[in-house]
Amino acid sequence: MALLLTSVRRKSIVQIVLILGISLGFLTGCTVRLAPQHNQALVAGLVEQNKAVMEFFAFYAWGTKAASFPERLPEYNRLIGNFDALALQADARPVPRNKIKTKVNEALQKRGIPVLEEGEIPSATALRKIYETLVKMRNTDQKQGLTLTESQAFKGQVKIYLDQALTYENFLER
């Protein structure tokens, strides 16, 4: 964790750029792309579903009873469908592959940061996890209802993944 905290410091990034610049000798001479394209429609969809899911959580913040589950089912299905669609949209973009990216990954790995698998987009993973969380929440609600703590825990988990997805997608606007 200490390595990770260090890794985001300005000096580290300058070092990575300099090491790469020297090791590759700026041979490409051209500008590069290391991450997928920004998609404004995806960000707009994310912002909209963020609001919708937080309103849903606010409504059932104190837990639920299985008996009233049918009232909630349409909203569960709507949210689950929307996050599934957003995950697909996020994953559908090509991820650049080039020599510089390989060097960047090597440099980051040396600083203790787990490297993304080939073609992996972290926001797409976060959105898939939100989808899975909502499916688990719906199934538990249907079976036995939700305790107050379970409601809070499902909300906390979705918020963490939403922050990951939104931060990454907003960062792609360069």
Partner: protein, 110 residues
């Protein structure tokens, strides 16, 4: 006309610093938010298991999810760091190419 190394280094540094200044602040903010939220989530899950408020139905799911959340947090950090490096790299290359073009008078295609 020769390439002024001192000026070139200064220009590269200015271009890269402009990119880093904004991005590093955003990355640190994201890192701090995530660390706090994941710690709070861990406390909630632990307390919920101890009191039985996290039921058997969801216990394994929440415990596994804590690990997945941390892993994707680290991968998101790597993803945003890649974007910052991309921007810093492109800023540096643009400065170098502009300098070479000025000295040689040759238009370089980037």
């Amino acid at each position: 006309m020769e390439l002024d190394i001192t000026q070139l280094m200064k220009d590269i540094s200015t271009a890269v610093s402009a990119v880093l200044g904004k991005d590093v602040t955003t990355i640190q903010g994201f890192r701090d938010r995530q660390l706090k939220a994941i710690a709070q989530q861990s406390v909630l899950i632990t307390a919920g298991i101890a009191t039985g408020e996290i039921t058997e139905e969801t216990r394994e799911f929440f415990l596994d999810s804590l690990q997945d959340m941390v892993l994707n947090f680290l991968k998101t950090l790597q993803g945003v760091a890649q974007v910052t490096i991309e921007k810093a790299w492109n800023a540096a290359v643009t400065v170098i190419w502009d300098a070479i073009e000025k000295v040689t008078g040759i238009r370089l295609v980037g």
